[in-house]
């Protein structure tokens, strides 16, 4: 920005030279940025008797200065800098009158913790608090803990009831495809269904995971039915949210984050796990 006006002023010189007599010298001053030049021109204008030629030569002489010399240097460069011994001597002189440990902190530990390390400790507190805030406010840490408690630790009563009904109920689903061996025999023999004695609330959930109801030799029975039924336990059927704190982003995404995983254990005929898989065995 500084270069362009000077270039403009240089181009304008011929016309302004001729206009010097007519126009006030202030019009030239508008192109200058520094006070030094202004004072020169002010002096020239103030005297009034100075010829235009002198003003012109002054102006042209100013243009011939080396770049940067018109700016008054703020830092005085000196050849002599303080040697370390000098700084030591000034330090010693200073501290013969002023004590090393100022009055509020008469011992070194106090001085260090309150004067030297004070900004560091304050900043450390700030940073740690900011991280904790990140977890609690931005990342909804408490909601995550609530979900863990609800699903993994049996905090949600409805969910745990549904899962236990699914796993251990003796009822059979209405579709009839999962009827176990005994139920089928009962049906063939025309005996009443055993489920009638049990409360009706469980009727929808039994998927014949219970022992003895399935004609498969291994437990648990695999298949998509199982996965589907387990997944449905995660949902709330009636859609009524009894707890007020189940709002927020984390709870809305709970369907994506919480799910059952059914992992096939590798076939191992002689291993320990093989014994689980036999529903009829008692260990």
């Amino acid at each position: 920005m500084r270069m362009a006006p000077q270039r403009r002023s240089r181009k304008k010189i011929p016309s302004e030279m001729f206009d010097l007599a007519a126009s006030p010298t202030r019009s030239i001053l508008t192109n200058d940025h520094t006070h030094g030049e202004q004072t020169i021109m002010d002096d020239a204008a103030g005297q009034g008797g100075i010829s235009d030629e002198k003003r012109l030569t002054d102006f042209l002489g100013m243009l011939n200065l080396a770049p940067g010399t018109h700016v008054a240097p703020k830092i005085t460069l000196s050849i002599w800098t303080a040697t370390p011994l000098d700084t030591l001597h000034s330090f010693l002189a200073y501290h013969t009158s002023n004590p090393l440990l100022p009055h509020p902190y008469p011992t070194f530990p106090l001085f260090i913790s309150h004067h030297l390390l004070a900004p560091l400790l304050a900043h450390a507190d700030l940073v740690s608090t900011a991280l904790v805030q990140l977890y609690f406010d931005d990342l909804n840490f408490l909601d995550h803990l609530d979900i863990l408690h609800a699903f993994w630790l049996g905090g949600d009563v409805g969910f745990s009831e549904r899962v236990s009904a699914a796993l251990f109920s003796t009822n059979i689903s209405d579709q009839g495809t999962n009827m176990g061996r005994r139920a089928r025999t009962r049906a063939r023999m025309g005996l009443p269904n055993r489920s009638q004695g049990v409360s009706q609330g469980d009727g929808e959930w039994g998927i014949a995971l219970g022992v003895g109801l399935s004609d498969r030799q291994r437990w648990p029975p695999g298949g998509a039915e199982l996965a589907f039924a387990l997944r449905t336990t995660l949902l709330e059927d009636d859609g009524v949210q009894t707890d007020a704190e189940r709002g927020g982003q984390v709870w809305e995404e709970v369907q994506d984050t919480v799910s059952f995983a059914i992992r096939p254990i590798p076939e191992d005929e002689d291993g320990v796990r093989a014994k689980w898989l036999d529903p009829q065995a008692i260990e």
Binding site: T87, L88, H89, S90, F91, L92, Y94, H95, T96, N98, P99, L100, L101, F108, P109, I112, S113, H115, L116, L117, A118, P119, L120, L121, H123, A124, D125, L126, V127, S128, A130, L131, L134, D138
Partner: protein, 176 residues
């Protein structure tokens, strides 16, 4: 000021671990924090006997000058200033070793972040003038800062360079 140097001579011998009675000198500690600990203990000892003697003031001067690099390293760890070598990803580079903080590269997940470090701290490697109960909190703050930077780069605390400095502050008048 020749008499000043005369007074300082026995202390200087003590300082370089060559007691006047012995004929042999023991080695000065080589680790930066141990050296500072040595200086600091000498200063404490001298200061107990007389607070304004030239010896204790000179020791304070030495301590102030010598602890400047370590203090700036500590500032950079906390996040009050920046040092450029922190982001070097060389495996064996330990920029925080003087503070007793070592780092080892954490195995990068599939996301391919290379700058994951695990920090380990040894409290006794910090110089003695840092009080013991503050050492771990300073370390944890640095760790939290790095985690915060990873989590949210736009957080105002993630950027360094706050122009706040903790220093001994001795001889303030003569320093501009």
């Amino acid at each position: 000021m020749g008499w000043v140097s005369y007074l300082i001579v026995p202390i200087a011998y003590e300082l370089i671990k060559h007691p006047l009675q012995d004929t042999r000198a023991s080695a000065l500690p080589s680790r930066a924090s141990s050296l500072l600990t040595h200086l600091y203990s000498q200063l404490l000892a001298q200061h107990q006997s007389s607070t304004t003697s030239a010896t204790s003031v000179s020791l304070a001067y030495l301590l102030q000058a010598a602890s400047r690099p370590l203090l700036s390293l500590l500032h950079a760890w906390i996040g009050l200033s920046d040092i450029p070598s922190e982001s070097s990803t060389a495996m064996s580079d330990q920029p925080w070793a003087d503070l007793g903080i070592t780092r080892s590269p954490r195995k990068a997940h599939k996301m391919g972040i290379e700058d994951c470090w695990e920090y380990d701290f040894s409290s006794k490697r910090m110089p003695a003038f840092v009080p013991r109960d503050m050492r771990r909190s300073l370390f944890e703050a640095g760790k939290s800062l790095r985690l915060l930077r990873e989590a949210d780069a736009r957080h105002p605390l993630s950027a360094g360079g706050w122009d706040i400095e903790g220093s001994w502050g001795w001889g303030q008048d003569f320093r501009e």
